[in-house]
């Protein structure tokens, strides 16, 4: 073909060959310039309609004009062969530039910003690339990026890839066939988004997935999802988490990659321009950092060595257990029959609060750590291997407040539509907010400046703001609970707050129904019925049907209406769980029986749930955040005790088993489902708490009791 004329283009030399066809360097004899011509192989364009479609796509793509997109000058046909005339780019594909250990971070950011810019431009014109990969990105000697082959993959997908897509549908039985039938396509599968592998309609967010893969590859030199066969690779894409990027890559880059690689498109960035902006933000921060590099830095992260970390998979259920002497992580498959335990993280430190942020594609654990060296909020994006180690206390009272942070009692995520918002409740009682996903925190002045604050008094646990509830129906409405201050509600996003304690009786003041000063231990609400709240008071169980304006006692038939823990069923807005404690003087379960109580009629009546729980000499205490539920169906219920025992039920409380014993005193328990839970959860382990006979529970307990007595919290 060399020397031949194709239209008015004279073929000069062959530049490369790929799955789509052969690329030549050619001379435009009219405009007297060098261009590239891609001649598509007859295999690529199988039939007439495929040809028409490809021509349409190429014509649309030729309308794109962006410095980071390879310009298409013309599409044509000669002697039955389709060809595309495009800008000639001197340079190398990104795939070739990527060294074994990855590119320098500066290059990753520089190229990433340009690729994201190219995608933003094309997505704005309704053109989805569909085959973004490092070999489709050219890098010029000046460092300019040019993305190739916009939109051209579409017809190819249904033409060539149709075969592999079908095979992938039957992955379970034909893995060997795949390798053969996919042929040259195995190189593309590693960039395909889960929805594309499932055969669903891929949209611009599938390009953002591919961008995440390219960024990961550029940063580390490795693909995030690998396998020996197409089957293994596809399976990894759909079910596994990408291994963390090496530690020298800034955490911000990893966070961006993770968000691009969220399995569900709605969990990813929704626009390429967002990725571009996020990369640019790190770029400018790195430039600032480089300028100040003479400054000595302390360790910004800590790595927990000597702990066998969890290998977390999609759909795993995790329990985050904060204790007085460190954090523990437990992992189980959705059946929840076997738990793998690891820890203690933050050996010797009190972990008052833990949380999991799965919004916006994150997989971030949060923990508040407290020791006599201070209290910090820390996060981990790799399920506990490394944690942030803020140089300065990240939650701190401003200088004019005249007070210092003691503890962080609650970490609370903002609403789903504000994925960068977080709150935390602290001791001395105050609320802090973050609007950058926990990077920086500021005091919520509206509550701090409340006229009541100087008259709040500490309870036994200190003067703490321990509970934060958001109203899903109205983002400006929030509730906080303070011991001892009571319930406060804002209707304007935290600017102003009103005490909401009418009807809650106190036994420790001459005025039995004060406006505020109640020692509220816990409040809960159900998102499906946010106007209704339930409340565990120092003495008394209450319900409000009017957003806290008034409260009615619902202590109907419980052995004691004293207690700390209270928890909402994940789906049933009538169903609440509590764990009664005998009294404020004797803070143990009544009659030495460990009993969870449940109401299924919003407090009209309560029933004990005891099967599998010790009913003799079980003088236990369960603290306010030490009971939780998962989001599966049937719901898993979990609680931990001051004596370090952890119990769980996989059938909503009907049957219990001991999950762990011998832990330090448990302060908080949180359950996490990693990724999106499957809808058909009912089939798994329905009603089957894995039975541990009560005898063996007793055995475990007696072993646990041999531990030294612990002090009071």
């Amino acid at each position: 073909m060399l020397g031949e004329l194709l239209g008015h283009y004279r073929i000069v030399s062959k530049v490369g060959e790929g799955g789509m066809g052969v690329v030549y360097r050619a001379r435009d004899e009219v405009l007297q310039r060098d261009i590239a011509i891609k001649v598509l192989s007859s295999r690529t364009v199988a039939d007439k309609s495929a040809k028409e479609f490809l021509l349409d796509e190429a014509r649309a793509a030729s309308a794109l004009s962006h410095p980071n997109i390879c310009t298409i000058h013309q599409v044509g046909e000669t002697a039955g062969e389709l060809y595309i005339v495009m800008e000639l780019i001197e340079g190398e594909p990104l795939s070739k530039c990527i060294a074994k250990g990855g590119l320098p971070v500066e290059s990753v950011l520089r190229y990433g910003v340009q690729i994201a810019g190219a995608l933003a431009h094309s997505h704005g014109r309704n053109i989805v690339h569909r085959d973004l990969k490092s070999s489709n990105v050219m890098v010029t000697p000046e460092g300019l990026v040019k993305v190739l082959d916009f939109g051209l993959a579409r017809r190819l997908r249904t033409g060539i890839l149709g075969e592999s897509a079908r095979t992938i549908d039957s992955l379970g039985t034909a893995s060997e066939t795949i390798v053969e039938s996919t042929g040259g396509l195995t190189g593309t599968i590693p960039y395909m988004a889960p929805e594309a592998l499932r055969g669903e309609e891929a949209d611009h967010r599938s390009d953002l997935w591919a961008l995440g893969v390219v960024l990961y590859e550029a940063a580390s030199g490795q693909l995030p999802f690998r396998g020996r066969t197409a089957f293994e690779t596809s399976s990894a894409i759909m079910h596994e988490l990408a291994p963390p990027l090496p530690s020298w890559i800034p955490g911000g880059v990893w966070a961006i990659v993770q968000r691009c690689l969220a399995k569900e498109p709605q969990q990813r960035y929704q626009r390429a321009s967002e990725v571009q902006a996020a990369l640019e933000a790190i770029q400018s921060a790195s430039v600032v950092g480089a300028a100040a590099s003479g400054e000595q830095k302390g360790p910004l992260t800590i790595v927990h060595r000597g702990i066998r970390h969890l290998a977390v998979r999609e759909e795993d259920v995790l329990l985050l257990v904060g204790t007085m002497k460190g954090a523990f992580l437990l992992r189980s498959r959705p059946e929840r029959s076997h738990w793998e335990t690891t820890g203690p993280y933050f050996h010797g430190q009190a972990i008052y609060s833990m949380a999991y942020d799965g919004r916006a594609g994150r997989r971030r654990l949060w923990a508040s750590t407290s020791t006599f060296w201070g209290t910090l909020l820390r996060s981990s994006d790799d399920f506990g291997k490394t944690w942030t180690n803020p140089q300065e206390a990240n939650v701190r009272f401003p200088a004019d407040c005249g007070m210092s942070l003691k503890n962080i009692w609650q970490i609370c995520l903002g609403p789903p539509n504000e994925p960068e918002t977080m709150y935390c409740g602290v001791e001395p009682a105050a609320l802090f907010a973050s609007h950058d996903a926990g990077e920086t925190w500021s005091l919520v002045r509206g509550l701090f400046d409340h006229a009541h604050r100087p008259r709040w008094v500490p309870g036994n646990g200190g003067l703490c703001l321990h509970t934060i509830l958001l109203d899903p129906a109205k983002s400006e409405r929030m509730y906080v609970a303070i011991s001892s201050g009571g319930v406060y509600r804002t209707e304007d996003g935290g600017h102003t707050w009103e005490a909401r304690n009418r009807g809650i009786r106190v036994s420790f003041q001459p005025d039995r129904y004060p406006e505020f000063g109640q020692c509220v231990h816990k409040i809960v609400l159900h998102p499906a019925r946010p106007e209704r709240l339930f409340l565990q008071h120092h003495w008394g169980l209450y319900r409000s049907d009017d957003r806290g304006d008034s409260w009615q006692n619902i202590s109907n038939g419980v052995p004691s209406d004293f207690g700390f823990a209270m928890m909402m069923h994940p789906r049933d807005p009538e169903c609440v769980y509590i764990l009664p404690i005998e009294s404020d003087e004797f803070r143990c379960t009544p009659d030495g029986k460990l009993r969870v109580y449940r109401t299924r009629n919003a407090g009209g009546s309560w029933e004990p749930l005891t099967r599998g729980l010790p009913q003799k000499r079980a003088y236990e205490t369960v603290l306010r955040d030490a009971m939780t539920t998962d989001s599966l169906d049937p719901a898993g219920i979990y609680f931990g005790t001051r004596s370090g025992e952890l119990f769980g039920s996989t059938d909503e409380g009907k049957n219990w088993k001991m999950i762990s014993s011998g832990l330090p005193p448990v302060v908080c328990v949180r359950a996490v489902t990693v990724g999106e839970p499957r809808a058909a959860r009912k089939k798994i382990g329905q009603g089957q708490a894995v039975r541990t006979g009560s005898a063996s529970v007793q055995e475990k307990r007696s072993a646990a009791r041999n531990k030294a007595k612990r002090g009071k919290r």
């Binding site: 400054e295 000595q296 830095k297 302390g298 360790p299 800590i302 007085m324 002497k325 010797g348 009190a350 006599f372 060296w373 201070g374 180690n389 140089q391 300065e392 206390a393 701190r396 009272f397 401003p398 200088a399 407040c401 005249g402 007070m403 210092s404 942070l405 005193p665 612990r710 002090g711 919290r713």
Partner: protein, 95 residues
């Protein structure tokens, strides 16, 4: 004459692993020495003092063998060549 800080194990992550940090600027008071230490070991400040600048409740600093809580806190004057120890207090870890 230089003064020396002795850094306890949990805080050596901020002193590059060193048990001793020397301050060569001959500070006159503990406050001056502490500021110099914080410059030398970023991250150590918030582990030792709270937002109000007070020494944390369960942390003690000794100049020689004297607990600074009884000698004027951070205003404690430093003799030439002072040796300053940072130690967790025995009252820590009551839980």
């Amino acid at each position: 004459m230089a003064i020396t800080f002795y850094i306890p194990g949990p805080l050596r992550a901020y002193s590059g692993g060193s048990q001793r940090v020397e301050i060569r600027s001959s500070p006159a008071t503990l406050r001056d020495a502490f500021e110099a230490l914080c410059k030398e070991c970023p991250g150590i400040r918030d582990r030792l003092v709270n937002e109000e600048g007070q020494l944390r409740e369960h942390v003690n600093i000794f100049v020689g063998t004297e607990n600074i809580r009884f000698t004027g806190d951070f205003s404690t004057p430093l003799p030439p060549g002072a040796e300053i120890s940072i130690l967790p207090a025995v009252s820590g870890g009551w839980h």
